[in-house]
């Protein structure tokens, strides 16, 4: 494991623990009142790296804020993240999450949708508490950022669902990156860095430079995630392997394969993608995966992920120029490499 990966692991352990403890308090308080909140605790208690929460805390600390200033925003983000996961699993018909059956598989779709709502509402509470910690003006700015983050994420998910519904097969890499920017980057990397900077610097000027860094970092993260879905370790990945193919997700490697197939292969691939999940066979999935390897689609995606990670490393220097050295700064700097190394 590289030094960067070790540093990221340690910081995730420390800040993730802080966020997890704060999050547990919200969940426990809520669970006393109603059983829906007990179910809402399911995904958060399954573990996870708490990357987003840790990033948010580090991004505030790097500018001099204490952990306590950022922890409520970090907890809110984790709650929204879990809300997105519950809903995404329903919409994608995913079967597993973090190594266990998805919530809708265990409790049915209506209950899962309601739990998603409950997590969303719980996510608002820490933002309300921000008011007494950060003061009304800053808390208001964080709320605005959160509103935008949720909006962008929902629009990104809508785009992806639309593509699958229409069985869109003429998409470009730019289309994929645009969707990823909205669906993944905003809540995974852009929001934590912007909100962290907002809290740490106590003003919202020039937040767009964190969009660039967050976008390249988040896009590399998503492509690596897509690669792990096809060729990762099931126990570590925590979801069914090749689930993206069963779900018909438009990944970078799938778009590459569509472009680089013969007309006959493309026609068969289009037919496969248009089928409902239940009608797709494991043999078909295996064949698509073999074609991806043969056509260099996986290698292509890997190269793009590396290039975007390099761009993220470059943008880090621009976004955090002049910020004094610290563990938090080194943690953020290490993230572009870590997203490629994580298993």
């Amino acid at each position: 494991m590289s030094d960067a990966a070790l540093l990221v692991r340690d910081v995730l352990h420390e800040y993730g623990g802080i966020a997890q403890r704060a999050l547990s308090r919200y969940l426990e308080q809520a669970a006393e009142n109603d059983s829906v909140y007990r179910l809402a605790s399911d995904y958060p208690l399954r573990g996870g790296r708490a990357l987003r929460a840790s990033f948010c805390i580090a991004a505030a600390k790097v500018f001099g804020a204490p952990v306590s200033d950022a922890v409520e925003s970090a907890v809110s983000l984790e709650l929204f993240h879990n809300a997105f996961l519950v809903r995404d699993d329903v919409e994608d018909e995913s079967e597993e999450r973090r190594g266990k059956p998805a919530l809708h598989v265990l409790h049915g779709v209506p209950t899962a949708v309601n739990v998603g709502d409950a997590l969303t509402v719980l996510g608002l509470r820490p933002l309300m508490h921000n008011r007494s910690i950060l003061g009304p003006e800053l808390a208001w700015r964080v709320l605005r950022e959160t509103e935008r983050m949720v909006r962008e994420s929902v629009e990104g998910q809508a785009l992806e669902l639309k593509w699958r519904l229409e069985n869109a097969c003429e998409l470009t890499d730019d289309d994929y990156l645009r969707m990823t920017l909205k669906k993944t980057c905003w809540y995974t990397t852009i929001y934590p860095s912007r909100v962290g900077a907002l809290i740490g610097r106590r003003h919202g000027e020039d937040l767009d430079r964190f969009v660039r860094f967050g976008f390249f970092l988040g896009a590399a993260f998503q492509i690596q995630d897509d690669l792990l879905n096809l060729a990762g370790d099931h126990d570590r990945y925590g979801k069914e392997l090749a689930g993206d193919l069963l779900e018909g997700k438009r990944t970078l490697m799938l778009l590459h394969l569509l472009r680089h197939s013969t007309p006959k292969e493309r026609s068969k691939l289009r037919e496969f993608l248009g089928k409902p999940r239940a009608e797709k066979t494991s043999g078909e999935v295996r064949r698509v995966l073999e074609n991806m390897k043969r056509r260099g689609s996986l290698e292509y995606a890997r190269q793009v992920a590396h290039a975007l990670s390099g761009a993220a490393a470059h943008e880090f220097k621009m976004a955090y120029a002049g910020v004094p050295d610290s563990t938090d700064r080194r943690f953020i700097e290490a993230l572009p490499l870590w997203v490629l190394e994580r298993l």
Partner: protein, 247 residues
């Protein structure tokens, strides 16, 4: 005599160094075929040697540049009232927020009210036009004949009105916040023509700290505008006004 054409410098494409990451890659040679172009047999070409990082990162930069331009324009449109010094509508923001994330109407109401009735020690930006100046925002509740209506004013205060007449109630807070124990002694007709409405009970929920003011309008109370002052019990200082319009 034709005047000589003055020689001018051509307009430069950029006036500062391009420090983008993509500058680290050599662009494809002029005339080089696109990696997507099929070969002579109609077979797609492999793009192993076709500058994948250059294409991908350049595309990503174009995309994020365009996004930032659009984002800025959109932000200007969305937040125009505030940038002009007007009052941003907290309710609208949170309503949009929840439309995105789900349909949980009560949460935005609670949240909006918490901001609207916040403590006064934090001044709003731009001379008090922000969303934080307590008392700036009024909450209206209207009830039909014989109805009881509750207007939740903050997470700390709600008002319930029982009236045989159609009514509207408006509350302005200035300085009340969660934990402020307030009372409303009476509502008085603005023109002094009618009897006081003084059947008002204040109840405090000890677990949540919420205060509920229950106003019962006597039968036969004439139509008029009735006003009263919310007074903080501890300091006896005014913390808001209540205006009840009986129709």
């Amino acid at each position: 005599m034709a005047s000589k054409q003055r020689i001018k410098r051509p307009t430069l494409k950029r006036t500062a160094p391009d420090r983008r990451f993509s500058g680290a890659f050599r662009p494809p040679e002029p005339g080089a075929s696109s990696p997507e172009a099929p070969n002579a047999k109609g077979e797609p070409k492999s793009d192993k040697k076709a500058g994948v990082p250059y294409e991908a990162v350049n595309g990503a930069y174009r995309l994020v540049d365009e996004y930032l331009r659009q984002g800025q324009k959109m932000a200007e449109e969305l937040w125009l009232p505030q940038s002009n010094g007007g009052v941003p509508d907290v309710g609208k923001v949170v309503e949009r927020f929840l439309r995105s994330a789900g349909d949980m109407g009560t949460a935005w109401f609670e949240m909006m009210n918490q901001w609207a009735a916040g403590p006064p020690e934090h001044a709003a930006p731009n001379g008090g036009t922000g969303p934080f100046a307590a008392g700036r925002r009024a909450t209206h509740a209207a009830g039909a004949n014989g109805a009881t209506a509750a207007g939740a004013l903050s997470t700390a205060l709600s008002v319930s009105v029982e009236s045989s007449r159609k009514f509207r109630i408006t509350v302005d807070l200035f300085g009340a916040h969660a934990g402020t124990d307030v009372e409303l002694v009476a509502l008085k007709a603005a023109d002094g023509s009618a009897a006081l409405i003084d059947d008002i009970v204040a109840e405090r929920d000890p677990t949540e700290g919420r205060i509920t003011l229950s106003v019962r309008v006597p039968k036969g109370q004439p139509a008029a505008v009735y006003n009263g002052i919310l007074v903080e019990k501890r300091t006896q200082r005014p913390r808001g006004t209540v205006s009840l319009v009986l129709e």
